[in-house]
Symmetry: C2
Subunit: 506 residues, 2 copies
């Protein structure tokens, strides 16, 4: 590769270099993938300033003739036009991992995916899910309503609804909220594809990379994932029996100036804890004081099994600081994928734009099905039935766990919702327990996935009692206790590190 | 505010300053919102280096006692603890516009939202939508299938499916694709909530802010919005009667090194153009040469009204460079929101993570409904029926437009799909036409929304013929022609600029 530079020419030296290399590339003298001399070597050879060579190479890059490749240097690019008629016979496979965005690479958590795939497996007892049991559906009723839907709405069932939700359902949700002390106009209500979508939209609305988001510790895994996907810095706040600890919360509000607080005040997932009335009021006072918005996620509020229902934060909020998110996934059906959000009109407008981009509208049939189910007055009886079944299952699971008499195991029995939260004896090695449970066909949720930093110090387990049948609760808890006892004995016998964490869902 | 600094003390001077200010804040001497002296003034007063004051203020900030406010300086922050029992009575409203992320602020386009809201309006003739007509649904058939679903799958209809789609439907899609020359395993197929979700996921997978994405000009507005929401730089490539222009495409591939190319080769939305066989092959050759992935969006491929069906790019792609996206929205029902994507397993795995975060799973009932509809063999007859109806409507609309004999108006009649593309005479002012159409109750899609840069030079209109009833096509086109003629005459009489663009959908 010969290049000559004339110091007396009117053409700047970098251009002289660039022009000569360009001509060599275009004439085919420098073929595709030819590596140009390193900038330093070239500058020494030509006895010019290094920056002159850098500039020449930059011009070549700008014209798409060469590119810088890590590890190789500056490389001549191929071109069908230049390279003439000859076809490349070998097409290199696309290197997807090099094309992916930073965000994509970070989205590697698959817990929910694993849980849902369990539903297609036979003969597994699952305490890992978060859905109602199969026998809680009144199939005849649904069959009746579905037929009515087609008769009443006809083709409308197959036509689009507005992006923000069908008007009939929004009015129904408005009345339903009113009964729960939340006053919102239909323009402040939006239907989303489950409440997960509302949570994702809220993250999309507010989070810039590096923003701090406060959550309870532990918290709902779907929220952690959504916030992390927008590169939030998640700061988690411990809870006590009255809910989120306000002293720590205030410190964090001062220290981190967070973008928002995400909280599940009622029958918190995974712990089952419920925030006391006093703490609800104090939490709002702090939010007002520090001007921090609060996202209240309340999927389980209707599923209380004793005591009185505490008011939602949203119903206590006199200053529109609370965005309220709930759904019919835990009460009517998970798989209809109908949730909703209550927020100011400006936020609903933004969410409408987001929905346009992501899935355009929520399934029309589902929206009308839920509208009719509630409007015809079926919800009340259905909820009473669900509460009765779930309370019975909760008590059954709790009693059986207690009968296991495992030393140093704490059992947190919730006043409502879907989950019992267990703190296992310290000596249990979680990976070993999961492996043993896998062998006997029992699936649980290890607690660490609910901790934003995947805190390995803890030994928690979340047990769902709504999905399994009574017989499965009996058999499953029995097996669970056996496995815990065995792990405990093993750990006393032999203290060895376990190499890898076995994924219990696959 | 009195501060003294001792040069002989062991405590560094910045700490002396910090400690004294801290004490004054904690004692209430410096109340909330008190503005500290500017750093320069303070350093002069105390006769210390400015950096000493800067350091002191930084420490105070780190402890959450003060904050820097643009325009004010360094300001003492409030604290309920410090400020004692007194409650603030006035709670300032949250300034949402200051909290929003950059992405959120950019998502301000509402075209699709406006289109869908038209469906709730009576007595409007809409040529703006992109759905099948209401009378194309065999309601009795759907009623029958729905009842069968509950009898056959029972509670399963209300239970979750795997995140990536229910296995039955994925197998059905696999066979359906095979009939269209696309060979894919079930692990390379994922069900999404409409193809919009697949497009959004692809954007999420690949786009970093500033990345170049190539599209046809014009192109599908939902794709533009999804790409822009990830801050892509969209570069659009003109088309001719054979589809995307390859000479411009190659230049752009060289010049921009784009992340991917998004294309609708068959019955392109909005122009109705179809890429020739030769150009399909050449396009793939370029993609291979420049190592650029291609997203093929094919919602209309089944809706051909003459000639032979061209193979999908995906079926010609021997190197897995093409990601194939389609849906049942244009063939079975828009509002069931079931689409799918065909891609390598690594990409499907990423998409599964994304879906977990965004809406967890696609509606179970819809997935089984579509599975049964196809598996029972109804699709073929349904498509034949749709083709027959749509071809008739297309011909009707085209003929009527031609009878209008409007000078300098070009009518692009497609070989399939849902849309006629019009190029209006140059002298028509679009905003005036839209206003007049609004007055007579006709809604159309102005072409500019399909141009990534909202090119104001053009005078295009997209007319949908699938949704309106025959009578509405007759009346609507008649009114459209009248409005065009009137606008044309007006513009000859008086050339004045129109102040604002009236939104025709509201």
């Amino acid at each position: 590769m010969e290049i000559t530079v004339s110091r007396s020419s009117k053409t700047p030296m970098y251009l002289q270099i660039k022009n000569q290399i360009e001509a060599m590339i275009n004439s085919g003298k420098l073929p595709a993938n030819f590596i140009l001399p390193a900038e330093r070597a070239m500058s020494e050879k030509l006895q010019v300033n290094r920056s002159t060579v850098v500039k020449a190479y930059m011009e070549l890059k700008a014209e798409g003739l060469v590119e810088a490749r890590v590890g190789s240097g500056t490389v001549v690019l191929p071109s069908p036009a230049r390279d003439g008629v000859q076809e490349k016979t070998y097409v290199p496979p696309l290197r997807w991992n090099q094309l992916e965005s930073r965000r994509a690479v970070k989205s590697n958590e698959q817990t929910i995916s694993n849980i849902l795939s369990v539903f297609e497996k036979e003969r597994v007892i699952s305490f890992a899910s978060g859905v109602a049991s199969e026998d809680s559906y009144d199939l005849e009723l649904f069959k009746k309503i579905q037929t009515q839907l087609l008769e009443k709405y006809r083709e409308k069932i197959f036509m689009p609804t507005p992006v923000e939700g069908c008007t009939e359902l929004k009015h129904t949700i408005k009345s339903y909220l009113q009964q729960n002390g939340i006053n919102a106009g239909v323009r402040q209500i939006m239907v989303t594809s489950g409440s997960q979508q509302s949570i994702e939209f809220f993250a999309r609305l507010l989070i810039e990379p590096g923003d701090v988001v406060l959550v309870e510790e532990p918290t709902y895994i779907g929220a952690i994932q959504a916030f992390e996907s927008y590169e939030a810095r998640i700061v988690s706040i411990p809870m006590d029996e009255e809910g989120i600890r306000l002293d720590v919360l205030e410190n964090c509000l001062v220290k981190y100036r967070p973008k928002f607080l995400y909280t599940q005040p009622t029958f918190h997932n995974p712990t089952g804890l419920t925030m006391s009335m006093n703490r609800r009021k104090e939490l709002l006072r702090l939010a007002y004081y520090y001007n921090v918005p609060v996202m209240e996620d309340n999927p389980y509020g209707e599923l209380y099994y004793e005591g009185e229902k505490l008011p939602a934060l949203k119903s206590l909020d006199t200053n529109d600081y609370v965005i309220y998110v709930s759904s019919f996934s835990k009460t009517i059906s998970f798989s209809l994928r109908v949730g909703f959000v209550v927020a100011g009109e400006n936020i609903i407008n933004r969410f409408t734009r987001f929905k346009q981009i992501t899935d355009i509208q929520t399934n029309t049939h589902s929206q009308y099905l839920i509208h009719e189910f509630i409007a015809q007055g079926h919800l009340k009886g259905h909820l009473e039935n669900l509460r009765r079944i779930n309370k019975m299952k909760r008590d059954m699971m709790a009693a059986q766990l207690q009968r296991g008499k495992i030393e140093d195991m704490k059992i947190y029995v919730p006043g409502g919702g879907y989950f019992i939260w267990l703190e296992l004896p310290k000596n249990i090695v979680m990976s070993e327990l999961l492996k043993q449970l896998g062998d006997v066909g029992v699936v649980i949720m290890p607690g660490d996935v609910f901790f934003p930093k995947f805190n390995v110090e803890n030994n928690y387990v979340r047990l769902n009692f709504s999905y399994p049948k009574e017989q499965d609760i009996k058999n499953g808890v029995e097996k669970l206790i056996e496995c815990i006892v065995r792990c405990s004995e093993n750990s006393k016998k032999l203290r060895r590190p376990v190499e890898t964490v076995i994924n219990p869902y696959l």
